[in-house]
Structures are given as structure tokens and as C-alpha cells.
């Protein structure tokens, strides 16, 4: 059983929902990435999503774009991100870790090299935003063999055929993008989440994470009524951006704790 599966199994038994924060590796500085990851775990994160900076993040809104730009200015590439994962794993062998990013940095490293090194570094899952199922059969197979869960996105516009396909080749969890737009948009459509999740559950037993547009304890709590996991990215990065390097670690803890409490209430 993978670390991600084990975590969801544990949560299911204790009737809790997963909290999945996202930060961009290298933002605000590479030195702060591991302390931020540990702070997120301390504040109640169940799984961490770590963004791999890319020069052309087509599916991301301005907040995550800027965080990627800050990381790229400091030269943070995919190999550096894997280095940060190894550093994190030295103090934490339990928390599942998912890399999220775009195809080109992976292809530039070489798909086989990437999955081998990511698996060895302690990566548990990978979300490649611009790899739809039909374009990444080889990648999915290699990832699975390296013990890495390939995690796919679903949208309100996903057809039933697409849901079935993603359920067949994906593992770990499914990531339901709760709105039409890019990451960090202001509002989540809770009615949409409530309407769509049953359609996905009819097809798969994989846990469902919901993200894009979740900003506070209240929206997280309401999403968690339907979902198995709540993903929060832009709101955390906004906090890091406003706090600056000196305060970032303390501020993300303060931000995440009430969300954890709301999920457990």
C-alpha cells in the first residue's frame, strides 16, 4: 500500500478528511521550502503538494505564477526540487508528498530518470497538469512501477468517458478542479461540487480531493462535506508572499490551523 493510500485509509477509519496544502518549491527561498513543509505538517496537513516551478504555467492564476517566478529567479529547477524532497524526507518519513507541475521540465530531465529519482527521493504521487491520460501512457506506467501514484485532474466539464479513463489509470486520489478557471480564482462553486462528486463516485472508489478556489475554514469545511480531501494552494502562497521570508513559516501555521479545526469539527 502506498503512503497516499495508507493515509487515506487511516483517515477513513478515523472519519476525518484530508487537508492538502500546496506550496511552490523554492518560494520565497529554497532554504525555506523544507521549514514551510514541516510547518504545514505541524499545522495539520495530511498530504503535501509541492509545486515544481515552470516558466509557462498555463493553468495557474497570478498568485501561483508569481511564486513560480520567484523560485525561477533563484534558479530552482526540477533537480533542486528533488533535492528539497530528500531533505524533507530526512525528518519525515510518514507524510505523503505529491509533486505538481508541467510536462516540459520532466521531459527535459527524461521521463525514466525523473520517475527513478523521484521515487528514490521519496515522492509518492505526481500531478502533471498538462498530461491528459491519452498523452502519458508510458509515463503513467513508469511512475506506477517506481511506486509513484499518477494523479489526474477532473473538471466540471469532464465527460463520463473521461472520468472512467482517469479512474482506470490514476491512483492515489483524483483531483477535482471545482471551477472553470485557473488556480486561485475567488469563488468555489459549492453547488457544483455537490452535484459532480456523486457522478465521479459512481465510477471510482479512489478518494477525491477538491481544489481551486478554497480560501478559508468555512469554504474548506463545506467542500469537505462532499470531498475526501481539501486542497489549498493560492491562499497559502498569498500568505507567504505577504509575510515575506521572515514571517512565512509562522504565518502559514496560523493560516492552516483553523482550517484543520474546521475540517475536524
Amino acid at each position: 500500500m502506498s503512503r497516499i493510500q495508507a493515509r487515506f485509509e487511516m483517515l477513513r477509519q478515523s472519519k476525518r478528511k484530508a487537508l492538502i496544502p500546496y506550496i511552490t518549491a523554492g518560494d520565497p527561498t529554497p532554504a525555506l521550502t523544507v521549514p514551510l513543509m514541516r510547518a504545514l505538517v505541524e499545522a495539520g496537513a495530511d498530504i503535501l503538494e509541492l509545486g515544481v516551478p515552470f516558466s509557462d504555467p498555463m493553468a495557474d492564476g497570478p498568485v501561483i505564477q508569481r511564486s513560480g517566478e520567484r523560485a525561477l529567479k533563484q534558479g530552482v529547477g526540477l533537480r533542486d526540487v528533488l533535492g528539497l524532497v530528500r531533505d524533507f524526507r530526512r525528518g519525515d518519513t510518514q507524510t505523503p508528498l505529491v509533486l505538481m507541475g508541467y510536462a516540459n521540465p520532466i521531459e527535459a530531465m527524461g521521463v525514466e530518470t525523473f520517475v527513478r529519482e523521484a521515487g528514490a527521493a521519496g515522492v509518492d504521487g505526481v500531478i502533471v497538469v498538462d498530461y491528459p491520460p491519452e498523452e502519458c501512457a508510458q509515463f503513467t506506467e513508469l511512475a506506477r512501477r517506481a511506486g509513484i501514484d499518477p494523479i489526474f485532474l477532473l473538471a466540471p466539464t469532464s465527460t463520463e468517458r473521461r472520468i472512467q479513463e482517469v479512474a482506470r489509470i490514476g491512483s492515489g486520489y483524483l483531483y477535482y478542479v471545482s471551477l472553470r478557471g485557473v488556480t486561485g480564482a475567488a469563488h468555489i462553486d459549492l453547488a457544483d461540487v455537490a452535484a459532480h462528486l456523486p457522478k465521479i463516485r459512481a465510477v471510482t472508489r479512489l478518494p477525491i480531493g477538491v481544489g481551486f478556489g478554497i480560501r478559508d475554514a468555512e469554504s474548506a469545511r463545506r467542500v469537505a462535506q462532499a470531498a475526501d480531501a481539501v486542497v489549498i494552494g493560492s491562499r497559502i502562497i498569498q500568505e507567504i508572499e505577504e509575510a515575506g521570508a521572515g514571517q512565512a513559516v509562522a504565518r502559514v501555521k496560523t493560516l492552516l490551523r483553523p482550517i484543520r479545526e474546521a475540517l475536524d469539527a
Binding site: G61, N104, I106, E107, D130, L153, A155
Partner: protein, 399 residues
């Protein structure tokens, strides 16, 4: 499968092309493909398209034998396909008319576009005015500075020009931003992509709309020159004018297809935009193709004197034609393009766009070494009025 039957059902040209987008865009692209396929089978759509190409754009554009300049060069005969004479001054309008008609069929009231130099933005704003649609054009803030006149043209035509401040603030970032707009406003919005790049069906669709260029040449060359050319030469940024003139010639044996990229300050300088000559395959903007990228897979900033060639990727069909050996790709520096620009002004009284001047420059390089009965057909994809500022500045003049 014959080379010109591509792409396959999922938009692949050999290993290139495809649909590399987030799931949020998949459905919109499937709808677009279905609407496009249906439109192509509908004679009424074809008739509408041809009517506007004739009466609004002024097609067919002539092929012109540049006799005087050919004589000066002393070798092969150079013929120019005069896309510069189209309404709005470039080939871009062929595609924007096709896509706007499709948008109208799909009931979309709002169109968006990305633009670099502003030519595609102007062509999109033009057709939006023509068909009564709201138009938003994304343009990098760097490019807005460099192309103030085209920004004003777009505004005159009723479009909103949105400055893009992310990344390198140029064409590639404008394309990212247009995609983000599309995914956010997907119900009412049609994305008019300006080149043969992006996710399927764009590379195929834009090529099809632009193939009118090559189709006309295939008829015009026997009438004018008594036969088809020995080589067809076109500049390649994203590659839409080149695909448009190449595509009908792919099946014609003996016709060399030569794409000319921007070598900027020279391929060795690193300051260029020659993705096919100096890049390697990767994934950007929804397709797999040759890209200018660093060792970490980050996309590099490009350089060319011509803003329209300043793009770090290239249409996937060009990537395939290169690997398959059916087309050759070369690169021409800023300096050589500028020399060809002034030569064409002096010897033929034609002011070419700096983009097209790259194709002209390559013709000028190879023509002298060829016999006089050889024929080079150059796609003069646009006129140079927009480039006055740039050319004057390079000459140390202020307008």
C-alpha cells in the same frame, strides 16, 4: 499514411502535436474540434469563407515576378506571393476570418486572441468588428511598448488590449494568458489562436485556413511561370504563413520547402528565435514540438528584430516536416533580414514586413548560385509599414 494526411485523430504529426492541456480545457477543445469538422463538411461554411476572402480580404493575392531584383542577384528567378496586399497587411486575416466564422456558428459572442507584434491582434480585432463580436487581445507589456501603433489600431477597431505582465511579458506569455481567459470564460468565448501551434485542433485548423495561400500559388505559378517553383520559401515563427504555402506543395514532388527562422544576432550568440534549427523537442502551449529551452526545461526568452518571429516554439507540423525530411529549415540573422528589407524596397518598390524579409533574405542568399531558369517562390507574408519605427531606429534615425 501519406505525409499530408496528418494529423491523426488526436492531433499528432508523428511524435509531435497532440493535446497537452489541463483537464479544464479538454472539453472546450473537443467541442471546437467537433464544430470545426462539421463546418468543413458544410458547403455553406466554405462558401462564406471564400466570399469573405474574395470580397473582404481581396483574394486571390497576386504572385509577382521580381524581375529586376532577380536580375541584380544574377541567378534564380524570384517570385513573391503578395500576402502583403491583403486587407490588414498580412496573411493573418485568412485565419481570423475562418475562426470568426466558426465562432459565429458556435454561437460565441466574445473572441479573444494573443498577439506578439500585433498583426494577429489587429486581424482578430478586424474580424470581430466585421462580425459584431466583443474582442479582447492579450499582449505582453514589452510588446505593447515596442508596437504602440498596432495597439492603437486594435483600439480603433473596438478591441480591448490587455497588457500581460507575467513571465517574459512577450508573445508566449500572452498565449498563456489567453488560455487562462478561455478556461475561465469558456461558455461565451472563442479563442482565435494566431498560428499553427497550440493544442489540437488549432495546428490543423489554422493550417487549413491558411492553405489558401499555397492553393492559389499552385494555380498561379503555371499561369505566370509555366510551371511550379523549384523551391517555396517562407519565414517561420509559429509557422502559419509557411504552413499555409507549404501544405498544398507537400505532395508535389521536386518542390523544395524551405522554412526560414530568425537567427537574431546569430545562432552562436544564443540571442535568436530559431526553435527548429537550435531547439529540442518538448511540451509547450498544448503541443509537443521543438522548443528553445534550458537544461531544466524552462522556456527561454527569444530575440529577433521582427517581433512576429519572436516565439520559442514552432508549429508541430513543421517539427514533423523537419524530422521527415520533407522541409528544410534554415535561419537568417537580423542584419541579413534588414539588408533584404532595404534591397526589396530599392529594387522592387515593395516594403516587406521584417518577418517576411527573413524569407526574402534566404532567397537572396541561394539565388545567385542557381541557374537563371530556376524558380524560387517566396511568401511575402506581410507588409512593412508596421516596422518603420524599428528600421529607422536601427539606422540611428528618430521618426
Amino acid at each position: 499514411m501519406r505525409i499530408h494526411d496528418l494529423p491523426d485523430a488526436r492531433g499528432h504529426f508523428g511524435p509531435y502535436g497532440g493535446v497537452f492541456v489541463a483537464e479544464t480545457l479538454t472539453h472546450a477543445l473537443e467541442q471546437l474540434l467537433a464544430a470545426y469538422q462539421q463546418a468543413r463538411r458544410d458547403p455553406a461554411f466554405e462558401a462564406e469563407f471564400r466570399y469573405d476572402l474574395k470580397h473582404y480580404v481581396g483574394r486571390p493575392s497576386p504572385v509577382y515576378h521580381a524581375k529586376r531584383w532577380s536580375q541584380v542577384l544574377g541567378g534564380a528567378q524570384i517570385y513573391l506571393k503578395r500576402e502583403d496586399l491583403n486587407h490588414t497587411g498580412a496573411h493573418k486575416i485568412n485565419n481570423t476570418i475562418g475562426q470568426a466564422l466558426l465562432a459565429r456558428r458556435m454561437g460565441k459572442s466574445r473572441v479573444i486572441a494573443e498577439t506578439g507584434a500585433g498583426m494577429h491582434g489587429v486581424a482578430a480585432a478586424t474580424v470581430a468588428a466585421r462580425y459584431g463580436m466583443q474582442c479582447v487581445v492579450y499582449m505582453g507589456s514589452e510588446d505593447i511598448q515596442r508596437q504602440a501603433q498596432n495597439v492603437y489600431r486594435m483600439k480603433l477597431l473596438g478591441a480591448t488590449v490587455v497588457p500581460v505582465e507575467s513571465g517574459s511579458r512577450t508573445l508566449k506569455d500572452a498565449l498563456n494568458e489567453a488560455m487562462r481567459d478561455w478556461v475561465t470564460h469558456i461558455d461565451a468565448t472563442f479563442y482565435i489562436l494566431g498560428t499553427v501551434a497550440g493544442p489540437h485542433p488549432y495546428p490543423m485548423m489554422v493550417r487549413d485556413f491558411q492553405s489558401v495561400i499555397g492553393e492559389e500559388c499552385k494555380q498561379q505559378m503555371p499561369e505566370l511561370a509555366g510551371r511550379q517553383p523549384d523551391a517555396v520559401i517562407a519565414c517561420v515563427g509559429g509557422g502559419s504563413n509557411a504552413m499555409g504555402i507549404f501544405y498544398p506543395y507537400i505532395e508535389v514532388e521536386g518542390v523544395r520547402l524551405i522554412g526560414v527562422e530568425a537567427a537574431g544576432e546569430g545562432l552562436a550568440s544564443g540571442r535568436h528565435a530559431a526553435s527548429l534549427c537550435a531547439g529540442k523537442p518538448g511540451v509547450l502551449h498544448g503541443n509537443r514540438t521543438y522548443l528553445l529551452q534550458d537544461a531544466n526545461g524552462q522556456i527561454l526568452e527569444t530575440h529577433s528584430v521582427s517581433a512576429g518571429l519572436d516565439y520559442p516554439g514552432v508549429g508541430p507540423e513543421h517539427a514533423w516536416l523537419k524530422d521527415a525530411g520533407r522541409a528544410e529549415y534554415v535561419a537568417v540573422t537580423d542584419v541579413d533580414a534588414l539588408r533584404a528589407f532595404s534591397d526589396l524596397c530599392h529594387y522592387e518598390g515593395i516594403i516587406p514586413a521584417l518577418e517576411s524579409a527573413h524569407a526574402v533574405a534566404y532567397a537572396a542568399q541561394i539565388a545567385p548560385g542557381m541557374p537563371k531558369d530556376r524558380i524560387l517562390l517566396v511568401n511575402l507574408s506581410g507588409r512593412g509599414d508596421k516596422d518603420m519605427q524599428t528600421v529607422a531606429e536601427r539606422a540611428g534615425l528618430k521618426l
